[in-house]
Structure formats: structure tokens, C-alpha cells
Symmetry: C2
Subunit: 248 residues, 2 copies
Amino acid sequence: MISKNRISDIRKLHQKKFRDQERLFLVEGRKSVEMLLQSKFEVVEIFATENVFRENQKLLQYSAVTMVSSADMERISTLNTAPELLAIVRQPVALLPITDDEPILVLDRIADPGNLGTMIRTADWFGIRQIVCSPDCVELFNPKTIQSTMGSFCHVQVRYEDLPAFLKRQSHRRILGTFLGGESISTFAFKTNDIVVIGSESNGISSSVAQCITNRITIPRGQTTAPSAESLNAAIAAAIVMERWSDR
Amino acid sequence: MISKNRISDIRKLHQKKFRDQERLFLVEGRKSVEMLLQSKFEVVEIFATENVFRENQKLLQYSAVTMVSSADMERISTLNTAPELLAIVRQPVALLPITDDEPILVLDRIADPGNLGTMIRTADWFGIRQIVCSPDCVELFNPKTIQSTMGSFCHVQVRYEDLPAFLKRQSHRRILGTFLGGESISTFAFKTNDIVVIGSESNGISSSVAQCITNRITIPRGQTTAPSAESLNAAIAAAIVMERWSDR
């Protein structure tokens, strides 16, 4: 059981203002919560619907597990379909440092939480565990971002930094950015410790970040004389580059 | 100006039932409508907010253009932010036939309209102009699908077919599907007239379709000993395969 006040408190975490203030965030859905429980994140409280609560004995290892009705789960969740599990999680205070030889994905002004989450999931698949976002990127702890990572937020470090300042500190690395007319990714010789910059959905890479790019790369269009798409979705472009980068 | 009844009629097209019944669909947003006007789709009516109505002389070539207030545009649109242009468009009755030498992307039970739209946009970028969906894929004319194509629905033919029957008629082609343990896409020799099958977000390729697959291909994970993502998003997997397929 869960009181009206408690429901109202949890619902506050749907908003960035309260997530920032409380330094908490929500993880929703069975798979995501199960991956969370194998991670180092500090889980403050778990809410489970009755069927999961009864069948999943592992959950009972956690001190703060509350059984809730589906109706109450619907109230505390941001999802249209009530999940079976929902966790309140502490935002980490420290991240693992970036080592000199590991790949870094840099995201410049990504606005869509689904895109950010999908990029985290794709980076995780390709073994890229460090993502650096510009301060105006969408928030990692937005429930839609967390949802789209499908649990990969547990494996990938995401930090927010002033990008020109960050990139200037990385002068031993090449900094790659996607532009029209760059070298084709199919022939470009990627290195493990490259940095790849992906620009925003609508405006690409901002000019102050573009000045830090050392190598311009391009995803070639298919051969066609007919009119074709003007651009690729940012998460799609990032994935295509990561796949080539991973195949080095 | 636009009457309450008219608003209510247009809002009916937010629902699949009425889109099916009227054989109409909505195209929303300036860029999408501008691409639409360069296509062969039959535009039934266009609604424009005042600023676009006054500045875009091209629009006046169309007989049925109505100026609406931002408030009314918000009412007739499915988007959270009212677009500047919205068009009511006739669903095409016939599609261009598939020629023997052109690539085909086959989608099996794709449920998310954003994923379908993104796959259409990506296919368009890579010059793949024929998509065949299983009957239980999400609807092309869902406003979220159309929105995510960013106008590429104008360039790509999307049809719905019983997939095992369709694939059996394509016996002169190879039919590729993504599976764990298949041949790596980085070494696989793609051909222009291959068919690539992408399975659903949650369940992959269904068994009746899997029986038609002639070549199993795989997107390899990055080299890592740490736990990583369990899978890729369907639109991401499709994009990565299309990029390799395009680079033949």
C-alpha cells in the first residue's frame, strides 16, 4: 500500500526540477529495474505490482520494496502502460574517470530524450562507455531517456561538460565530426581513442565545437538520381559511425 | 477561418479507424508539407498559420489553402507544438511495382511508429525505395510515422503484404535476416537485389518468416568483457545494415 502523499511525492520526480533538487530519478519497467539491481547505483526504493512481488524472490533481498496495485503503479509511473517494477534511484555523485585510451562519444545539443537514450544503448552495444554531453543536451535522468537506454544507463558514463573546454583538454586525440563533404566513414581509419562528435537533430554541430574538429567524416548517401532524404536522424547517424568505429 | 465541425472532422483523422474509412491522412510541419507539395501525392487541403500563409506565395498555387489561427492549428494537429502547415492527403491507391534489381527492406511486426518512420527516412538516404511490411506492422499513415519520416514517405514505397507468401515469390533473391551468430555484416558481401528482413522490437523475426531467410547476418558487439546492451533498437539495427548494404 502507498499513501496519496507518497504518490504525489513520487510523481514530483516526473519533473526535472524535483529530480535536480532531490538528486533522485526513476527507473521503470521490469528489465530496466533488473539490470539496475545488478549495477552499482544506489536504489532508494522499489515498487512492485503484486504478481512480480510474489514471484521474484530476489526482490526481497532489498529492504525497501513496496507492493502496489496496478492502479497505483499507473499513478506513479510516467509510462502509458503501468510497468511491473519501478525504482527510485540516487543520482550518482561521481563518475569513473575517462582513461586516455578509451573511446569517447560527444553529443552537442541533443534535444530528444529518446535519441539520447538510444545513443547510450547503441554505445553500450559497441563497447563505448564514455559519453560527454554539452550542458544544453537533454537530461540523462529524464524518464524517456532512461527508458530508451533499455538498462544501458547502468553501463555507460554520461557527463555534462562545456564542450570546447573539454575538447581542448583532449589534444592528444583526434576529434571527428560528421559533416557533408568529409571523408567517407567506409574508408576512414578509425582509432580506438578517437572522439566522435554528434550534432543536434536540427542544427548539427555548433560553431564553437566545430572549431575543435580535427577530422571531418561523412556517411555517404546511396547512389540515386531521385530526390532523397535531407538528413539522417541523429541517433541513426551516431549508430552508423559507431559501428564503423567499432570495426577497426 | 475554420468551423468547429470542420475541426472535429479533421481531428477524426488522428484515429486509424477514420483514416482507413476516408482513405486520407495528415502531414504536419512546414518541411514535410513542402516536400509533399513536390511529390505526386494528391493533397486535398492545406491549412496554414497566418505568417506562412502571407510569406509563402507557392502555397497560393493550391486551390484549397485555408488560413487558421495558431489556436485552431493546435486543435487540428496531433503535435504538441502547433505546426505552421498541415495537409490532408489522399492515401495512394497504387504503388510503383518492385523491379527485379532493386533492393527491398522487409519489416516484420514493427510496432513503434517512430521506428517505422525513422526506417523509411534512413532507407531513403541509402537509396532503398521499396519497403514491405507485415500486415501487423504499425500503420504508415499514423501521424507519428509520417512525422518521423521527415518527408521521406514521399520517396519510399511502403506496402503491407503477407510476408511468407511475398518472400516465396522472391526466390531469385537472397533473403537476409539479422540473427545472433550469423555472418558479420563487416565481411558479408551484400548485393543490390538482396532482401533484408528486420524483426520486431521485442520478438525479432517471427518463425514463419525466419524459415524464408537464406543468409543469417549479425551486427557484432564491440570488444568488451563488461556486461553490455542486450540488443539494439530495431531502427538502429536496420540503419547499420543498410549502410553496409549501400557500401557494396
